[in-house]
């Protein structure tokens, strides 16, 4: 089943432009496989007061990962403005 989160991830290891591992809720996860990589761009027409207007691309990564145990899960990570977040988990 799908669980939704909105957790900021501090540690994400990136290799060859794709996430290879991350640290979430005290555990380390190793990415086994990248299942999908998509992106979307926020509406630039809603300017934030004072902030320079620019296109902000959000990268969505759907990966298969595990945290040392044989069990694998599917995790969706997003990258926006250099910040990683964990959005969904299927396990």
């Amino acid at each position: 089943m799908t669980k939704r989160y909105r957790d900021e991830l501090d540690e994400v290891r990136v290799e060859a432009g794709r996430p290879a591992g991350f640290h979430w809720r005290g555990r380390s996860y190793e990415v086994e496989r990248v299942l999908g990589h998509w992106h979307e761009d926020a509406g630039w027409w809603r300017p934030v007061e004072g902030a320079p207007r620019r296109l902000e691309r959000t990268d969505l990564w759907r990966v298969e990962a595990r945290n040392g145990t044989p069990e694998r899960g599917i995790y969706e990570l997003t990258l926006r403005s250099g910040r990683w977040r964990l959005d969904r988990v299927w396990d």
Partner: protein, 1212 residues
């Protein structure tokens, strides 16, 4: 991933700005981007049109890459087996006119061969043959596309196949694909896949997810699988819409402008900004596992090579005659024409030379065709004149195409048609503007739509429209937008920011700086982007039967065939163009002629002549009828009026600047008019060629003697190089080359490199031919300085013909001429100023009258007493009859010369006398029903059928007027006579009349018939008008309200000049009236006042901003110039007030007249209010831009006229 590994790639689907409010990359940019990305080929596939093809092909050639031509067409229902996808069927929010994307599936067609391009053209035309504005490729169009086997079909995500795949309907997709393979052949059907990184379910973080979106990965997988299964090629594309990802903002704005919706995730039709011009490396990154898809795209592009035929010329084949027969016919007709014009001697030799050139270029057909068109237009009773360099051709003259004698006027054929150039000449015809469509129909009917079609014009985003439209999609308040937009009269979008900084009157606009920044940034980026396709106002392409295979055609709103190419495209393709320009002045002249002669084809005009047929008068034929071609070239009275710069209404010489030039130049003959028209151009004015010319002309400076051969060329212009023809003549004289070659050299003077080359050549040759070095140096300096500025003399001469004719009409037939001007409005001034031209010359203005007005404005011969009453002369005449001095009671500007029987109008001439018709009568202008804008054409017809009317009730019963029209007519004075307004037995005033009319028109018609409503006296028939009613001297509530209402419904102040209401204040302020300004001392400080009739801000050589304001104060018009230093104080008032008082110093440049250099400006209406309320002194200290709450000059309910009440009917 390193660049070296990337496979070859070429973009096959690119939507440019010519997709019209969709793509944000110009075709030229596409070619450049491809070259920079190292591609060898690139395609342009715009939505529904091939309009960008020609400029794309040229740019591609420039960048050394191969252009692939294609088009992206929507399919008609029934041409495909696909059902619309669920996502399309789901209702979208209803906003705007086209609230969602066109739901039709689309295919991209690429031209693989030359024949394939022709098929593409025919298919595109077929797509536009149906409902206008909804292009759809029908089955017949698909057949056309498949005709030669030179077209490749690309089936992408939006194609019927792509949509079925998105729904995962594999079998349906397979059979749909089979249909396309059957029609085009498997080798020419290709599946296209794109990787925009769209996630399954569409957008996630913003807006609602789309459950029908399988995501790009799935779409690609299914297409690859289908391709493998069916043996159909699959290629990678990117559906490019903009150059770099940041440019997506422009594409978003364009799309929302097109759909007329606010910017929002729902409306931009994308979730990612991936449709940029990605290079091969980037594409490889997207299709890492399948580099073969990129190779496939490059391979397909390389297989597409279609030539548009950019370098050839198309000699039209219109007559159906064999080339030899056409040549013989042309020669015979030209020789006959020469004899008919009574020309011989040197003209014969010249005719032979011209004919040789024409026949050598194979253009006999074109000249015959144009001559036939001109004959046919004349036979239809339409005035037609040739304009431009074609007037320099004797062949055109003898065929009747041009009125100007090129031999007598020193016009050169080589300037028009040059055997050394491989360009075909355009021929420009001026016709009456209101008959232009008739001329179009006539030409298209004559040559057929296979060989003739109208040229398109791409309207681009201009500052004003861009500010409004971008502002709307950004959701900015309309009021702020109007404020910003109003400040930009036809300014290029990229100048917006600079202009804002320079416009003090905008300083206080209430605009949020951040959002204004965003708005202006977007407006700048939209600069020059084509917005929509329109019919070019004049161009018709003439070709042969290949026309429809080379240029796609759609339909204009009026059903004319319009090409998808503009005039530059058409010229690049080598087609000849016939420019048919509608000229309002010709319509006005026709109106004048018809009124004078009482003979007309215009159903709106009377059949009664306004003048006696008198063959002894100038401009009359043997039967005494007025005829334009009988107007003498040297009529003294006409040139006296021109020299007095009394030229408002005259063609080409009426603007304030031209009037100033007339004052300095003092023309005495046709040739002088030609020079004046040539000199009044930005170039000559900026280079100040006028000063030496004027000085030499008046003998104040010597005309230099340089060399006999050169002096001969420049004799007509006192040694100043004014015309292109003179540049050619000078070069020919110096080098000894012929004029055709000289024209080529002249053209090369425009750019610095060309100029250097020509300079060396001219120096060497001239020295060889014995010219002294000093002479050559000196002449060269002038050539170099003026060559770029000079004006084509043939063009000026062609213009000077209607100039002279209109001047003659103004001089001798003022009321009839002004009637034409009011009806057709050809000039730069508001029409109400023309009424004043009449009154200033003693011609009274009669209001609209339901019983007497014709549909258009006409001239009536009326009793002198009535005319004098309307001119405000009655009190003075009465006093004179009583034997006392009448001068104090004369209106401003009028005088009573010693011993005269009548007062003299301000203009110094009385144009109202109608003694030729009957003693004691005067001519007056009768406004037509068409000045009342709320009167529909069918209401006018009904009125004409039903009149005369016995009473208001009768009019109500039989007139067929709506209440809106009836009330507008009341305000315009249309019921005055019928209801006896101002008569003792009639309605007291128009206000009373309005109440009565409202009652009548609100009641059912049957009750009105028996006359229950309204006072019974209204039922009585008209009585003679009392002539001696006093004219009020002070403004009264009633008259001001009346004039205000007149302005509102007609834009014309019929009863009284608006300024007349303010005269007590003008006297108090010590304002100098226009007719007296000429006597003011130069440098003196004066105040002037009047209605703003023109405001110009021409670019100055210095780059400073200058405003030229023209004011009209009922005694004449005057100019006030505001230089940059005065703008801080004055700009707001000058731009926003309709009635202006200005203070400044008297300046003189010309021989006559004076202008004012403005230092202060006030709104007259505001001063009037201040005077009434007792704070005039304070009002006079005000300067600069008022604060927002003070913008309204006048409080509601006061006497003055508020600017917003002036709006309609006046272009001022």
């Amino acid at each position: 991933m390193s660049a070296g590994v990337a496979p070859p790639f070429a973009h096959l689907t690119v939507a440019s700005t010519f997709s019209l409010r969709d793509g944000a990359i110009a075709p030229e940019e596409v070619a450049r981007a491809a070259a920079e990305a190292g591609m060898t080929h690139v395609a342009l596939t715009d939505r529904d049109r091939l309009s960008g093809a020609v400029r794309f092909a040229r740019a591609a050639r420039e960048h050394g890459i191969v252009a692939v031509h294609g088009v992206d067409l929507a399919l008609e229902d029934g041409t495909h087996g696909a059902t619309p996808t669920a996502s399309v069927r789901r209702p979208a929010p209803m906003v705007g006119e086209r609230h969602r994307d066109d739901p039709a599936p689309r295919v991209t067609l690429l031209a693989a061969t030359d024949e394939g391009f022709a098929d593409l053209v025919r298919a595109t035309s077929a797509a536009h043959a149906g409902e206008r504005g909804r292009p759809r490729l029908p089955a017949s169009g698909l057949d056309a596309a498949a005709a030669s086997g030179g077209v490749v079909v690309l089936l992408g995500p939006d194609s019927p196949v792509g949509r079925l795949l998105a729904q995962d309907l594999r079998d349906a997709a397979t059979s749909e694909l089979a249909r396309w393979r059957e029609r085009f052949g498997t080798a020419r059907v290709v599946l296209a896949v794109r990787q925009h990184g769209v996630a399954p379910g569409g957008r996630r973080a913003h807006g609602r997810p789309d459950p029908d979106e399988p995501g790009d990965d799935a779409r690609i997988r299914r297409a690859l699988e289908l391709g493998a299964r069916s043996g159909v090629r699959v290629v990678a594309v990117n559906d490019v819409r903009y150059r770099s990802p940041e440019d997506v903002v422009v594409a978003d704005v364009l799309r929302c402008v097109r759909k007329r919706v606010p910017l929002g995730a729902r409306h931009v039709g994308r979730t990612t900004a991936a449709a940029s011009f990605v290079d091969a490396v980037g594409m490889h990154a997207r299709f890492r596992e399948r580099p073969d898809l990129l190779v496939g795209a490059a391979g397909l592009a390389a297989a597409c090579e279609a030539d548009l035929g950019l370098d050839g010329t198309m000699t039209p084949r219109l007559s159906g005659l064999a080339p030899e027969a056409a040549a013989t016919t042309l020669v015979a007709r030209a020789r006959t024409g020469l004899a008919l014009r009574g020309m011989g001697g040197p003209a014969e030799a010249r005719l032979s030379t011209e004919l040789d050139t024409i026949l050598g270029l194979g253009l006999a057909d074109l000249f015959l065709a144009v001559a036939d068109v001109v004959d046919e237009v004349r036979a239809a009773g339409i005035l037609v004149a040739c304009r431009g360099s074609a007037a320099g051709s004797l062949v055109c003259h003898v065929l009747g195409i041009s009125d100007v004698d090129p031999v007598a006027n020193g016009l050169l054929f080589e300037r028009f048609l040059n055997p050394h150039r491989d360009e075909l000449p355009d021929i420009d015809l001026d016709v009456e503007s209101h008959r232009r469509e008739d001329v179009y129909d006539l030409v298209l009917a004559r040559f057929g739509t296979e060989r003739a079609a109208c040229v398109a014009m791409f309207e681009t985003f201009q500052a004003r429209s861009a500010v409004r439209e971008v502002g709307h999609v950004l959701g900015l308040p309309a009021e702020e937008l109007a404020h910003v937009a109003r400040a930009f009269p036809h300014l290029r979008a990229r100048d917006v920011r600079r202009a804002l900084a320079r416009l003090p009157e905008l300083a206080h606009a209430r605009l949020d700086v951040d959002r204004l920044e965003l708005l202006l940034d977007l407006v700048e980026r939209l600069d020059g982007v084509p917005r929509h396709l329109a019919m070019h106002p004049c161009g018709i392409v003439l070709g042969d039967d290949s026309l429809t295979a080379r240029m796609p055609v759609e339909r204009s709103a009026r059903g004319h065939p319009v090409l998808q190419f503009d005039k530059d495209d058409v010229a690049a393709l080598g087609f000849v163009k016939l420019d048919v320009l509608g000229v309002r002045m010709l319509s006005a002249l026709r109106h004048c002629i018809d009124l004078v002669n009482g003979v007309t084809r215009d159903p709106r005009l009377p059949r009664e002549p306004t003048r006696a047929a008198d063959p002894t008068l100038p401009g009359r034929d043997e039967a005494g009828r007025f005829a334009l071609e009988r107007i003498p070239d040297d009529d003294p009275a006409t040139f006296a009026l021109i020299r007095a710069a009394d030229s408002v209404g005259m063609f080409q010489i009426e603007s304030p600047g031209q009037r100033e030039l007339l004052g300095r130049l003092q023309p005495t003959c046709f040739a002088d008019l030609v020079v004046e028209i040539s000199l009044f151009r930005p170039g000559p004015v900026a280079a100040d060629m006028v000063t030496p010319y004027v000085a030499r002309r008046h003998g104040e400076a010597p005309t230099p003697v340089v060399h006999p051969e050169l002096d001969r060329v420049l004799a007509g212009t006192h040694g100043v190089i004014v015309h292109h023809e003179q540049v050619m003549g000078v070069i020919a004289a110096l080098t000894g080359c012929d004029l055709a070659l000289a024209d080529l050299y002249r053209r090369r003077l425009a750019d610095p490199t060309g100029q250097r080359e020509v300079r060396d050549l001219v120096h060497v040759r001239a020295r060889e031919r014995g010219f002294e070095r000093a002479v050559v140096e000196r002449v060269w300096r002038e050539l170099a300085a003026f060559a770029a500025f000079g004006f084509c003399k043939a063009h000026a001469a062609a213009f000077a013909v209607p100039t002279l004719r209109s001047a003659f009409c103004k001089t001798h037939l003022l009321p009839e001429f002004v009637a034409g001007l009011i009806t057709h409005d050809p000039g730069m001034y508001p029409r109400r100023m023309l009424l004043d031209e009449c009154r200033r010359a003693g011609v009274a203005v009669l209001p609209v009258d339901v019983d007497r007005s014709e549909p258009a404005t006409t001239v009536e011969v009326v009793d002198a007493g009535l005319a004098d009453h309307l001119l405000g002369l009655t009190p003075a005449l009465d006093r004179e009859r009583a034997g006392r001095d009448p001068t104090a009671l004369l209106p401003p500007g009028w005088s009573w010369p010693q011993g005269a029987t009548r007062p003299l109008p301000p203009s110094g001439r009385d144009a109202g006398i109608a003694e030729d018709v009957a003693p004691g009568r005067r001519r007056a202008l009768r406004l037509g029903l068409d000045v009342v804008q709320d009167l529909a054409a069918r209401e006018v017809e009904a009125l004409l059928d039903a009149r005369p009317f016995r009473s208001l009730a009768d009019l109500r019963a039989r007139g067929g007027l709506s209440i809106t029209a009836a009330l507008a007519l009341v305000e315009a004075g249309g019921f005055d006579t019928l209801a006896g307004v101002g008569r003792p037995d009639g309605a007291a005033d128009r206000r009373t009349l309005r109440l009565i009319a409202e009652g009548l028109w609100r009641a059912p018609r049957s009750r009105a018939r028996v006359g229950v409503v309204g006072p019974s006296r209204i039922e009585q028939t008209a009585l003679p008008i009392a002539l001696a009613s006093p004219v009020p001297v002070l403004p009264t509530e009633g008259e001001a309200a009346r004039v205000r209402a007149e302005l509102a419904v007609t834009g014309l102040d019929v009863t009284r000049h608006v300024v007349s209401f303010y005269e007590p204040l003008l006297d108090e302020l010590g304002v100098v009236r226009a007719h007296a300004l000429a006597d003011a001392v130069t440098g003196a400080r004066v105040r002037v006042a009047g209605v703003r009739v023109a405001l110009q801000s021409p670019p100055q050589r210095s780059g400073r901003r200058v405003l030229f304001l023209s004011l009209d104060d009922r005694t004449g018009s005057l100019q006030v110039t505001f230089f940059e230093g005065a703008l801080e104080d004055c700009a707001w008032v000058v731009r926003n007030a309709r009635l202006v008082v200005s203070e400044g110093r008297v300046a003189r440049r010309g021989r006559r007249g004076a202008t004012v250099v403005g230092e202060r400006a006030w709104d007259l209406a505001r001063l009037w209010r201040a005077r009434r309320e007792g704070w005039l002194d304070r009002a006079l200290t005000e300067r600069g831009t008022p604060r927002p709450h003070e913008h309204r000059a006048v409080a509601p309910g006061t006497t003055g006229l508020v600017a917003s009440e002036w709006g309609r009917g006046s272009r001022g």
